[in-house]
Symmetry: C2
Subunit: 338 residues, 2 copies
């Protein structure tokens, strides 16, 4: 009943060679008699041998597993990043396990501990909190780490970022070129670097086009739907409302659009809108929104490459890769009046 799983010793016996030879064949070591190799492969196949990675990892003192610790799996940004990581990983002989920290520093710490305990080959992390995420346990155990999307202030590690400033600049410039002059900006918390960088880009664009920067048109919010909604309502209620808005994140953009909807206003008809981040799921309410797209897949690929490099060269200096965004310009849908 309780059938044992085949080991290399079973294969070795069947093929009439030593376990060492089986190991060599299965790991494609050069210098094995082709005929022997063939015989080993045959019997390995026949016995349904499947390598025990656990034993292998113990012996090699590392794992063919990467952990991707992500602050929000449901966010399509990360779904796409992870896809990029996976592609690099699998071509480098690694598998990726996905861990969802849910923006929760405790969960994140548990996953970091798990990565250490499992002696993961490497970790790619989007830190829950830039200044509180603690990767010391990883570093202490010499597990390579790459940070993604956010910059870790607690340690110097390889990092992949998106050029938020440039993206925000392009978005704002686009609105200026469309003829808008009272352009507002709804951004995230001052404590989050990306939020600040995006306002910076917005400011720079206005300055470049000699459009006055008005502080009352800049709203720091929370990167969430409700915050975008409230910020937009406040802007609309102001004595001199804006004629266009750059909204620095996808959820806030949806919130802002909901505010317009409430006020019976139409995006890109009554007011110009450019968002940042793709809006997931086909959405009938704004098929025509111009958006700053992030190179999500490439972020993953770069992170994977950095990790692979780091594994090969543990003591090289930390690198930071910054990727450009792309402004996806969409035609405004012509409004059919009633």
């Amino acid at each position: 009943m309780e059938r044992r799983v085949a080991t290399i010793y079973d294969v070795a016996r069947a093929a009439g060679v030593s376990a060492a030879t089986v190991s060599r064949v299965l790991n494609d070591h050069k210098g094995v008699d082709p005929e022997l190799a063939e015989r080993v492969r045959l019997h390995s196949e026949r016995l349904g041998y499947e390598r025990n990675e656990v034993a292998r990892n113990l012996r090699r003192k590392t794992t063919s597993l990467w952990a991707a610790i992500v602050s929000d799996v449901a966010n399509p940004f990360f779904t796409s990043v992870v896809r990029g990581i996976e592609d690099v990983a699998s071509s480098a002989g690694y598998s990726v396990v996905l861990c969802n920290s849910d923006e929760d520093i405790d969960k994140e710490n548990r996953y970091i501990a798990a990565a250490v305990a499992a002696r993961m080959g490497g970790v790619i992390i989007s830190p829950a909190l830039e200044d509180r995420t603690d990767i010391a346990p990883l570093l202490r155990n010499r597990i390579p780490v790459v940070s993604v999307d956010r910059r870790l202030s607690t340690a110097e590690v390889d990092t992949v970022l998106v050029d938020n400033r440039e993206g925000a600049y392009a978005a704002t410039a686009h609105l200026v070129e469309l003829g808008y002059r009272r352009i507002a900006c709804i951004t995230g918390p001052r404590t989050i670097r990306t939020a600040v960088e995006r306002v910076d880009g917005y400011r720079a664009a206005l300055r470049h086009f000699k459009v006055p920067v008005r502080n009352e048109l800049i709203r720091y919010s929370d990167y969430r739907h409700a915050g975008g909604n409230a910020a937009m309502l406040a802007l609309l209620a102001a004595p001199e409302p804006p004629d266009a808005v750059f909204v620095a994140n996808n959820l806030m953009t949806l919130g802002a659009l909901a505010a317009l909807h409430d006020r019976r206003l139409d995006a890109s008809v009554d007011i110009g809108i450019v968002g940042f981040d793709a809006i997931p799921w086909p959405d009938l309410a704004h098929p025509s929104l111009t958006t700053v797209l992030q190179p999500t897949y490439r972020v993953g690929v770069e992170a994977g490459n950095l990790l692979a490099d780091r594994i090969a060269h543990p003591d090289a200096a930390a690198r930071v890769v910054t990727l450009p965004t792309e402004l996806q310009v969409r035609q405004a849908e012509p409004l059919v009046g009633t």
Copy 2:
């Protein structure tokens, strides 16, 4: 420079005991002198000892890891299911690694192979294809499996399902009770069991209320946005269009709503709509949609429990758990005319 990581032997030496005792303490075995235990814990802490799970797993011939192989990580249904699994897992001493098969049978097979190679403690899978997903490698290696959301026709395993028929019945009954009489149904492919079950429920409700079932009002589509859109347009273009529609999945619901939008029609004003599955992300276009909600979190919890049971009793008969849905009735937002 190259500092070695502490092992139980280091802790043992420091505490002046044997490795076995350290192991006992760290695994909470009873019958260890409390004083010794305290000393061990102290030194373990001081040396920054972190258990090597790889070695532990090799010795125990199993892993404290569960794999959740999911057909689409971006789908909020699974995000929530996984959360349920994680909660059960962590209270049973397991960690969950997430694998995204992306509805791709090859990727799925690779993850199954990886789960075998890593000697995972158990696998929870939402099969990419009910009739082609091959879990034989898992069974052969005596790795417990639980199927979720879909029923595996290739093997008898523990399964957690949602009562699709009952949900569809409730949705349709709701529309009848609202006074609608020409109720259409847009469902998924005939090859997918859930799609068929949902039409069945729809039919049953109509029969129960003695509303004639009209085949021209039943559209089999593809569970995707475009399909829902096309199906709805076709229904609207028919000589006798429906006065209400039950749409059997979230993406198709969005597609259907887009079709209404195109035709300048309003859901629940011009035509009654009930959807199936929560729509993710706050969406301004349909805050007021009545929807059949699935008990996603509980699906995960039940799956986790089944897996834990199966690990404890490998040879018990396979069980199928079916969970009820819940009709979330939302007020239609009153339309302000122009």
